[in-house]
C-alpha cells in the first residue's frame, strides 16, 4: 500500500468516527426539531417549522435567551477579572507561594454536586454559615432562591467560584511566557505597575485571553448542571436559560420537537456569536 493510500485510509477512518460521534447526534437532534413527538417511542410526525414558530412566539423563550446572556456575561466578566487578578497576585514572590498556587485550583477539582450542596448548606435559612454571619453583622436575611435577582446572583456566584481557578491557572501559566526584560525595559521607560499591566501584560497575553474568554463563554452558555442543581431554573423561570428550557420542554412537557428546536436555535446563536467574536478578535493579530 502506498503511503498516500495509508494516509487516506486513516483520514477516512477518522472522519467516519467523527461523523458517528459528533455529526450524527447533531443531525439527529436537529432533525427532531422538524417533527412533532411526545416520546422517543412514538412515531414522529412531520411538523415543518411549526416547532420553531411555536417556541419563538413564546415569551419564555425570549426570557430564557436573555437569562442565558445575563448568566454567561455575568460569570465571564467576574471569572476573567478575578482570575487575572488572582494570577497577578500568585505571580508575585511571597513565602508559601507554591502551596497557595496549588490550593487555588481546588474549586475547579470539586464535583459540581458537592459545590452546589455546600453552597445550599451555607445559605440555609436557619443553620447556614453565611446566613448566621450576615445576621450577626445586622444584614437583612436574603431569600437566596426565592427572589429572582438573588437566585441569578447565586448561580453566578457559585459558577464564578468554581471556574475562576481555570482562568487563574491558564493566565498564570501564560504570564510565565512574557520575557522579564520587557518589564525591565518598561520600568526604565518610566512606567508604574498599572501601566506595565496595560502596556505589556495585556497585549502580550491577548491571544491567550481571547481563547480563554471564548472557551468560558461557550461553556457558560451551555452550562446546565449548576443551575439545574441550584434552582432548576426558578424561581418562576428567573434563572431558566435555553439549555434548561430545552430540557424542560422535552422531558417536562413531553414536547421533544420543541425542546430540539430550542437546542437548535441555541446552537445557531452560539455559532453566530463565536463567528462574530473571531471577526472582532482574530487570533493572528498583526
Amino acid at each position: 500500500m502506498s503511503s498516500k493510500a495509508t494516509i487516506y485510509s486513516f483520514l477516512i477512518l477518522g472522519l467516519a468516527v467523527t461523523a458517528l460521534l459528533i455529526v450524527a447526534p447533531v443531525v439527529y437532534a436537529v432533525s427532531l426539531s422538524f417533527y412533532q413527538m411526545d416520546s422517543f417511542v412514538g412515531a414522529p410526525k412531520w411538523a415543518g417549522l411549526d416547532n420553531y414558530t411555536r417556541m419563538l412566539s413564546q415569551w419564555v423563550f425570549w426570557r430564557a435567551l436573555i437569562n442565558g446572556f445575563i448568566y454567561s456575561f455575568g460569570t465571564i466578566i467576574f471569572q476573567v477579572v478575578l482570575g487575572i487578578g488572582f494570577a497577578l497576585v500568585l505571580n508575585q514572590v511571597f513565602p508559601g507561594r507554591n502551596i497557595v498556587r496549588g490550593l487555588s485550583i481546588l474549586p475547579y477539582l470539586l464535583p459540581t454536586v458537592v459545590v452546589v450542596l455546600t453552597f445550599k448548606w451555607m445559605v440555609d435559612g436557619s443553620i447556614g454559615v453565611l446566613t448566621t454571619m450576615m445576621s450577626a453583622v445586622g444584614l437583612p436575611q436574603v431569600q437566596w432562591f426565592e427572589s429572582p435577582g438573588a437566585a441569578m446572583a447565586s448561580v453566578i456566584l457559585v459558577s464564578v467560584w468554581m471556574w475562576t481557578p481555570f482562568v487563574t491557572t491558564t493566565f498564570l501559566a501564560a504570564l510565565q511566557t512574557v520575557p522579564s526584560s520587557l518589564y525591565e525595559a518598561a520600568k526604565v521607560d518610566g512606567t508604574n505597575a498599572v501601566q506595565r499591566f496595560f502596556h505589556i501584560t495585556l497585549p502580550m497575553l491577548k491571544p491567550i485571553l481571547t481563547v480563554i474568554v471564548l472557551l468560558r463563554a461557550v461553556w457558560m452558555f451551555n452550562k446546565f448542571d449548576v443551575i439545574w442543581l441550584l434552582t432548576q431554573g426558578g424561581p418562576v423561570g428567573a434563572t431558566e436559560h435555553l439549555a434548561i428550557l430545552s430540557y424542560r420542554q422535552a422531558f417536562g412537557q413531553f414536547d421533544i420537537g420543541g425542546g430540539a428546536a430550542v437546542a437548535t436555535i441555541s446552537f445557531a446563536i452560539l455559532s453566530l456569536v463565536v463567528f462574530i467574536y473571531f471577526r472582532l478578535f482574530p487570533l493572528d493579530t498583526e
Binding site: L182, A185, V188, D189, G190, T191, Q195, E286
Partner: protein, 364 residues
C-alpha cells in the same frame, strides 16, 4: 550627561555573593566596558546601576545624586538589553516614543526626538513596522534609538551585540563608537568579548567571580596586566604563561633560562609565572637565542602563528606572515626582558616593577 560613582557596591543572593564590592568612578562622557567571563557579575553590576537589581551594600551616585534607593525610572538612565526587549505589539515609532510618553513629554518634542534618532540610526523606513518585521541588526538599532531619544545621564548596555552575526557585530560596534562620539554621554557597556572591549572603551573594568581584577585603559590593561587572570584573558592569541622559579635574576623552567627584567624583588627560588605575548617573541639569530621547534602552523592571513616548544616548554609565537616555516622547522627566538610580565605563582599578582612599561618601549 553626568558622572557615575560606585562606592563599594556589593550584591549577595542569600548567602551567595555575586559581586564583592566594586569601586568605580565613571567620568562624565566616559565609555567604560565591564569585561569578564560568563557568570563573573558584570550584568549584575550593570543592573544595580540601572536599579533593576537591589544593592545589598554600598551606594551609587549618578550626577552627584545618591540613587541607591531610587527606582529605575527616577535614575535618568537608559538601557539596551541583550535580546533588545522591544515591545512586540507597538510600532517602531511607538517603541521609540514610549519612554517619552510615559514621562508626559510634549507631543511635538517627542516627534522631534524620535525623528532625529531615527535619522541618526537609519530607521526612517521602518517607523510604522512592528519589531518582528525587522532584522536583528535593525532591532538592535531600534533598541539603541529607544535609549537615545531619552537623552539620559548615562547609557547602560548589556551585551547589546551578542545576538548578531560576526559581520554585523563589527558594523554595529563602529556605529556605537560613532554614537558615543556624537552624543558624548557616559556609557557603561557589558561584554565578554575582549575585542569589543578594546575597541570601544576609554577604560575597561575586568571582573572575575564577582571580584574586580583591574581597571584601566585598553592599552594599559594589555601592556600591564595586573595579574595572571587578566594576562590570560586579554590579548589574542593568548599570552604564553611559563611556570618556573627565580634563579640568579632569571626564570628557570625545565631546560630553559630566561633573563628577567630588573626589579623582581622576591627571594631566590620563588615560584613564578612568566608571561610573554606571542607577538612579543623575537624571531632571528642573536646572541643567547633559544631554539624553537615548530609543531603546528596556523595561517591567520597577515600573520603566522607557530605553536611548538623550546627546551621542553610549550610556546606560541606570532610573526609576520611567512610561508617558509613547516612542521619540524626550528627557529631561533629571543625573549626581550622589556616585554616580559612576571607574576607570583602563589597569588597570581604581577611583580614587575610598576614602571616597567613594556608596551611603549621602543623595540630592542
Amino acid at each position: 550627561m553626568a558622572e557615575v560613582r560606585l562606592n563599594t557596591v556589593r550584591k549577595a543572593y542569600g548567602g551567595q555573593v555575586a559581586v564583592h564590592g566594586v569601586d568605580l568612578h565613571i567620568r562624565d562622557g566616559e565609555f567604560v566596558v565591564f569585561l569578564g567571563p560568563s557568570g563573573c557579575g558584570k550584568s549584575t553590576t550593570l543592573r544595580m546601576i540601572a536599579g533593576l537589581e537591589e544593592i545589598t551594600t554600598g551606594t551609587i551616585e549618578i550626577g552627584g545624586r545618591d540613587v541607591t534607593r531610587l527606582e529605575p525610572k527616577d535614575r535618568n538612565i537608559a538601557m539596551v538589553f541583550q535580546n533588545y526587549a522591544l515591545y512586540p505589539h507597538k510600532t517602531i515609532y511607538e517603541n521609540l516614543a514610549f519612554g517619552l510618553r510615559m514621562r508626559k513629554m510634549d507631543k511635538a518634542e517627542i516627534d522631534r526626538r524620535v525623528k532625529s534618532a531615527s535619522a541618526m540610526l537609519g530607521l526612517d523606513p521602518y517607523l510604522e513596522r512592528k519589531p518582528k518585521q525587522l532584522s536583528g541588526g535593525q532591532m538592535q538599532r531600534v533598541a539603541l534609538g529607544r535609549a537615545l531619544v531619552r537623552d539620559p545621564d548615562v547609557f547602560l548596555l548589556d551585551e547589546p551585540l551578542s545576538n548578531l552575526d560576526a559581520k554585523l557585530r563589527v558594523r554595529m560596534r563602529e556605529e556605537i563608537a560613532r554614537l558615543h562620539q556624537e552624543v558624548g554621554t557616559s556609557m557603561v557597556y557589558v561584554t565578554h568579548d575582549q575585542v569589543e572591549a578594546m575597541t570601544l572603551a576609554n577604560r575597561i573594568l575586568i571582573m572575575r567571580d564577582g571580584h574586580v581584577q583591574q581597571v584601566g585603559a585598553p592599552l594599559e590593561v594589555y601592556d600591564r596586566p595586573a595579574n595572571l587572570f587578566v594576562a590570560g584573558f586579554i590579548g589574542s592569541p593568548e599570552m604564553n604563561l611559563i611556570e618556573g622559579h627565580l634563579e640568579r635574576g632569571a626564570l628557570k623552567a625545565g631546560g630553559l633560562s630566561i633573563e628577567l627584567p630588573p626589579g623582581i624583588a622576591v627571594a631566590e627560588g620563588t615560584p613564578l609565572v612568566l608571561g610573554v605575548r606571542p607577538e612579543h617573541i623575537g624571531v632571528g639569530e642573536a646572541p643567547g637565542a633559544h631554539t624553537f621547534h615548530v609543531a603546528v602552523i596556523e595561517q591567520l592571513g597577515a600573520q603566522t602563528l607557530c605553536i611548538g616548544e623550546v627546551a621542553g616548554v610549550r610556546l606560541r609565537v606570532l610573526m609576520d606572515r611567512t610561508d617558509a616555516v613547516r612542521n619540524g622547522t626550528t627557529l631561533p627566538i629571543q625573549f626581550r626582558p622589556g616585554r616580559l610580565h612576571v607574576f607570583s605563582k602563589e597569588t597570581g599578582a604581577r611583580i614587575n616593577r610598576a614602571d616597567a612599561d613594556v608596551g611603549r618601549r621602543p623595540a630592542a
